[in-house]
């Protein structure tokens, strides 16, 4: 029995000849592949190749949290030129090729996340088994960073599970559960958690005796894979895949690269691996990839407490939030309670009377049912989830909550009186938050005896799907409160952005000028479809008018009202939207807004039916070339301008927060990196010059208080991407 010591690995061989390589990267909650892991794996394999006594190699993780979260993204980001990238790729491909070619059988034992480079390692093994519980997920998510797998993932995955599944997994960056992985052949066996130990030993024994693992699905799969090995069938599948991504591929070059690499995996030589490397290198320096990487780090940063709270050392002693109270069980209130319940927070919804309480109960139950269906939960689990949300008519039932979120009607007077009532019935240490989307947090705080513990917590609709939560710091809000709320948001699996208390906060304030401009354009006779199509071409997942319909025109009207003093055009926009709301055209929820819903796909309506009269279109003037069409510029610039204003006013302190907020909160084209990144891309001089022309063309709403300048010290390596190309 031999044992060797590494930093990140634990290698030991038992009497039966089973060599276990246990990976445990120190100082990390989850294993990531970094340079140390690579070097030590390399050494371990070299060692292994020289040994004769080993009969089976088992790769597993030493952490209960999971197998591998993937490669260390900061290493990928730090690659500064193509030769460096080549080195890293070759090293990885070579290492995994050596593992694949080991004479002894190899087995990857997977639990928890097994993603990216981790899955590529598992794919290089002869066998994979996975623990079948909810935390186990396998996938190659590189596409989400604008990249493709670079260590043989596109090749081995395709050979293992066939072209169709492989395209699906890689192009969408899908995660699959252990069960699903076993049915498509990605793992040889999915083992239930309670039988994990026994079956694991059984499998190892089995392999030690030189037998092969056979899964029940193997035969059908074999036929399918053989069919896909046919040249013609393959070409058809690739063609279908290419068609399906054609529109997006303009914005996401990684999609076509992935298809290119995958389609070469059937060659017998190493050509596929070369293509994979070449495409990876190409992608790494595209703006889309740099922007997506930048957002990845922005998200990491926003999830760290120290980003938002300066002195966080003493905050460790604070009690975390354990029990949640929600006042008002409307769409938002029910959504928040449901979301918290799914993350293990028991919550209580306080409603005004029996009738509204019943309505709230129904809303929560429906949300839970949908969730349970989506997650494939059984009855017992969903009942347990339902019972985690209590609905009550008495304020007293909130007394044991450590955080109470108010989500009632958006009226300052009502909110104030409810908050006053609330404070008298809850403990002194409980945090109080308001889910207002626009009202002033500081003003609400004025009715509280302890305003320090009060802040805004702005969830987006629908709560369960929107990843962003704005945490609004009122004038008197304490760091401890912010810290608690940021921690709470994180534990809901969401991303917090802390903003200053100003009308519209961050996301709505930047988004609204864009939506408003689209509304004004409709009044000027621009076609609904033209407006939305132009913005989709720009890269938005959805046009502004479609988005307005989705948000609800009544909601938009309310936001317009609250932004009145900040936006010169808000009055006009309110009038137009008021007509819509008066007619009952509220958007998706009422079946008609800028589009008519009901048919297969929404139909844009003619402007004549939307506005009571048209007004004069703007004069056509020439702009400096910035890569945008006239319509795109007119719609995007209001957003960019408002973003710079938010930065200047200190609504948030850094550019990345704006970019992240807009991408997560509104679906701003992620491959463009967010509004601030778009300004960098255009260049400040051109941006200002075009703004001046827009101000001439369209009036004061485009006027800047001062020229927009680059903020020094903000230029990270990612912003200088132009130099890399």
């Amino acid at each position: 029995m031999t044992k060797q010591t590494y930093q990140t690995l634990n290698v030991h061989c038992d009497d039966a000849g089973v060599l276990r390589i246990v990976i445990d990267v120190p100082g990390r909650p989850l294993n990531v592949i970094n340079a140390d892991v690579m070097n030590e794996l390399d050494a371990a394999i070299t060692d292994l190749e020289a040994r004769k006594d080993v009969k089976l190699v088992v790769f597993k993780s030493g952490k209960e949290s999971g197998f591998f979260a993937g490669a260390d993204v900061s290493i990928i980001e730090s690659i500064s030129n193509k030769s460096q990238a080549e080195q890293l790729l070759v090293a990885g491909q070579r290492l995994f090729a050596r593992i694949e070619k080991l004479a002894v059988p190899t087995l990857a034992v997977i639990h928890g996340p097994c993603l990216g480079g981790g899955l590529e390692l598992a794919l290089a093994c002869d066998y994979r088994i996975a623990r079948d519980n909810s935390s186990t997920k396998l996938g190659l998510p590189e596409i989400k960073l604008g990249l493709i797998p670079g260590w043989g993932g596109t090749q081995r995955l395709t050979r293992l599970i066939g072209l169709k599944h492989s395209l699906q997994m890689i192009l969408k960056g899908l995660h699959v559960s252990a069960q699903a992985a076993s049915s498509i052949g990605l793992v040889d066996k999915a083992i239930a958690p309670d039988r994990w130990r026994d079956e694991l030993l059984e499998v190892i024994n089995h392999l030690l005796h030189g037998d092969e693992l056979h899964s029940v699905f193997a035969i059908g799969r074999g036929v399918k894979n053989r069919l896909q090995a046919n040249e013609f069938v393959r070409q058809q599948i690739v063609a279908i895949a290419e068609r399906s991504i054609a529109k997006q591929a303009v914005h996401f070059p990684a999609l076509s690269s992935a298809i290119k690499a995958i389609s070469e995996s059937f060659e017998n030589d190493d050509r596929g691996y070369e293509t994979e490397r070449a495409e990876f290198k190409k992608l790494l320096f595209t703006p889309a990839c740099r922007n997506l990487l930048r957002l990845f780090f922005a998200k990491e940063r926003s999830r760290q407490l120290k980003t938002w709270v300066t002195d966080h050392s003493q905050l460790l002693h604070q009690d975390p939030i354990r029990r949640l109270g929600v006042i008002g069980g409307g769409v938002m209130g029910a959504g928040i309670a449901h979301c918290a319940a799914t993350r293990g927070y028991p919550s209580t919804i306080k409603e005004a009377n029996k009738m509204t309480a019943d309505a709230a109960r129904n809303r929560v139950d429906q949300l839970v049912n949908e969730y349970a269906e989506h997650k494939g939960m059984d009855r017992e689990q969903s009942e347990r989830l339902k019972s985690a949300v209590m609905v009550s008519e008495s304020m007293a039932d909130l007394s044991d909550a450590s955080c109470v979120i108010e989500a009632i009607v958006e009226r300052m007077d009502v909110k104030k009186s409810v908050l006053r009532d609330l404070e008298s019935s809850i403990g002194k240490s409980a945090v109080i938050a308001t889910n207002t989307s626009a009202l002033s947090v500081s003003e609400m705080a004025s009715v509280l005896r302890y305003p320090k513990r009060f802040a805004g917590l702005h969830f987006f609709n629908p709560v369960s799907r929107m990843e962003l939560v704005e945490v609004i710091r009122g004038d008197q809000t304490s760091d401890a409160t912010i810290a608690k709320l940021v921690g709470f948001v994180k534990s809901l699996g969401k991303t917090p952005i802390v903003t200053k208390d100003s009308p519209g906060f961050l996301v709505n304030r930047i988004l609204f000028p864009y939506l408003g401009e689209a509304v004004l354009m409709v009044q000027q006779g621009f076609d609904v479809k033209t407006i939305d199509d132009e913005m989709r071409t720009f890269g938005m997942p959805m046009g502004p008018l479609r988005l307005l319909d989705k948000v609800g025109l009544d909601v938009a009207l309310h936001v317009a009202g609250t932004l009145q003093q900040m936006m010169p055009a808000a009055g006009t926009i309110s009038t137009i939207l008021g007509d819509f709301v008066g007619r009952g055209d509220l958007g998706c929820k009422s079946g008609s807004g800028f589009y008519r819903y009901g048919g297969k796909r929404p139909k844009p309506r003619s402007g004549r039916k939307l506005v009571s009269y048209f007004v004069q279109p703007p004069a056509s003037i020439d702009f400096i070339e910035d890569g945008l069409t006239d319509i795109q510029r007119r719609l995007v610039y209001p957003m960019l301008l408002e973003a710079t204003r938010c930065l200047a006013e200190g609504v948030v302190e850094s550019e990345w927060a704006i970019d992240l907020g807009m991408v997560l909160g509104t679906g701003f084209a992620p491959q463009l990196g967010g509004p601030m990144q778009v300004i960098h891309e255009i260049g400040h001089a051109h941006f200002n010059a075009n703004l001046a022309r827009l101000a001439l063309q369209l009036g004061e709403r485009f006027e800047t208080y001062e020229p927009v300048r680059a903020v020094n010290g903000q230029d990270t390596s990612l912003m200088k991407q132009g130099e890399l190309l």
Partner: protein, 434 residues
């Protein structure tokens, strides 16, 4: 009118001209007009730092066919071009001279002090002149819409006869003078007879028009005044009228279209055309804010004549202009006479040199002078380029000023005949000093 203030032409631009029912057939007169108004502002903005569309005080457009959906087309154009809504706009119609009438209108606007920056131009979509129904049929349609019960409606419908469904082409009505009951082509035939102009002379003149226009297009002289018009998938950049390989043989093959045994053919008359042009005009003082205005309009005259000899309008108008200004024809470096018909321009040339004509018709003892071929329409004319009726007057001023600049000349004369028996003439100068 010789003490008129000079009118400064800051910039001018036109669309490429397209024969009716070709490239621009789907483009309305409003769109054509908006395009040139917008473009002329953009071009003027390049000549100074402190001018933009908000400073335009008035828009005057010439237009003859009056699109039914744009009653005051100048106003519609001004608003669609983004000119502030508190500014004024009106449309003028002096038939074929409407594009010049708008410039005269600008003169009045500036002289009266109501405006400082005026855009004057003309726009015409002859492709989109609607087909009409006869008054009898129109009455039946109205009656039908008033019939409320099914039986009444049936009874009204029964009154319709096949002839009621025959459309009346609006273009044809527009090109016929209701007083003399003559089609414009027929007035040209009359002139050809009166001045003894044969078919060959007319064809030769038409050929020269094509050759000159094609040559000007070839060396991109015309592109300088054209703002390409973006169509759905292409951009329409050049006039499609002038034919590069035009020959006498081809022209000779054409049959007379207005009169059996006549001499006026489709080849030696101007085609129906779509197009628009616009000038930015201001007074002399304001023009100094701009780098090098295109030129100045310094005098104008309008004269009336016999409707059935409307083609001689330029001679009457020129005579009036010379009387006003004390100039002679030799004082003009270049001359533009609109080519409605080859016969009509040739008739003008002959009338101008005839002492008898001068004595009988113009009240002058001496002949008017000579419109020499070298000075006349040096870059071709309407026979090749086309004649969008409401626009041509503006185009003549624009082309003439540019031609003068190119040739190093100073003074030019632009004149055209007007259906219904009138003529308009204008004197332009490239600079006023010296």
């Amino acid at each position: 009118m010789s003490n008129q203030m000079p009118l400064a032409v800051i910039e001018g631009v036109r669309t490429p001209m397209a024969k009716a029912f070709t490239e621009l057939e789907r483009v309305s007169a409003v769109e054509l007009g908006t395009h040139v108004v917008t473009s002329v502002i953009k071009r003027a903005m390049a000549k100074t730092d402190d001018f933009n569309f908000r400073q335009v005080d008035e828009v005057i457009m010439g237009n003859v066919s009056g699109p039914p959906d744009a009653a005051n087309i100048a106003r519609v154009i001004a608003l669609s071009a983004g000119i502030p809504k508190d500014r004024i706009a009106h449309t003028v119609n002096r038939n074929c001279a409407s594009g010049m009438e708008s410039v005269i209108g600008a003169w009045q606007a500036l002289a009266s002090g109501r405006s400082t920056m005026v855009i004057a131009g003309g726009t015409e979509s002859m492709s989109q002149i609607p087909m009409l129904v006869s008054p009898e049929a129109a009455r039946l349609w109205i009656q039908l819409s008033k019939s409320k019960t099914f039986s009444k409606r049936l009874r009204t419908l029964a009154k319709f006869r096949p002839r009621h469904f025959r459309p009346v082409p609006g273009v044809q009505l527009g090109l016929t003078d209701p007083v003399s009951q003559l089609n414009m082509g027929e007035t040209a035939e009359l002139l050809a007879k009166e001045f003894g102009i044969n078919r060959e002379e007319q064809d030769a003149f038409a050929l020269q028009s094509h050759q000159r226009a094609a040559a000007a297009r070839q060396r991109c002289f015309l592109s300088g005044e054209i703002e390409p018009f973006p169509l759905r998938s292409t951009v329409f950049e050049k006039d499609n009228g002038p034919r590069d390989g035009q020959s006498m043989e081809q022209l000779a093959k054409l049959k007379p279209i207005f009169q059996r045994g006549g001499t006026v053919t489709a080849g030696n008359s101007c085609p129906l055309t779509d197009g628009a042009a616009a000038l930015l005009l201001t007074d002399l003082e304001t023009s100094k804010r701009f780098d090098q205005p295109l030129g100045f309009v310094t005098a104008s005259s309008v004269a009336g004549c016999d409707p059935h000899r409307m083609g001689l309008g330029p001679v009457y108008a020129t005579a009036k202009l010379l009387n006003q200004t004390g100039m002679t024809l030799q004082d003009f470096d270049l001359v533009e006479i609109n080519e409605a018909f080859a016969a009509q321009v040739l008739a003008c040339q002959r009338a101008a040199t005839s002492t008898e004509f001068a004595r009988n018709e113009l009240g002058r003892s001496q002949a008017l002078g000579e419109f020499t071929n070298e000075k006349l329409n040096t870059h071709g004319g309407a026979i090749a380029l086309g004649h969008p009726v409401g626009m041509t007057g503006t185009r003549l001023i624009l082309t003439l000023l540019r031609s003068l600049r190119e040739a190093g000349g100073r003074r030019g004369l632009a004149t055209l005949c007007v259906g219904g028996g009138q003529g308009v003439a204008m004197m332009v100068e490239t600079n006023l000093e010296g």
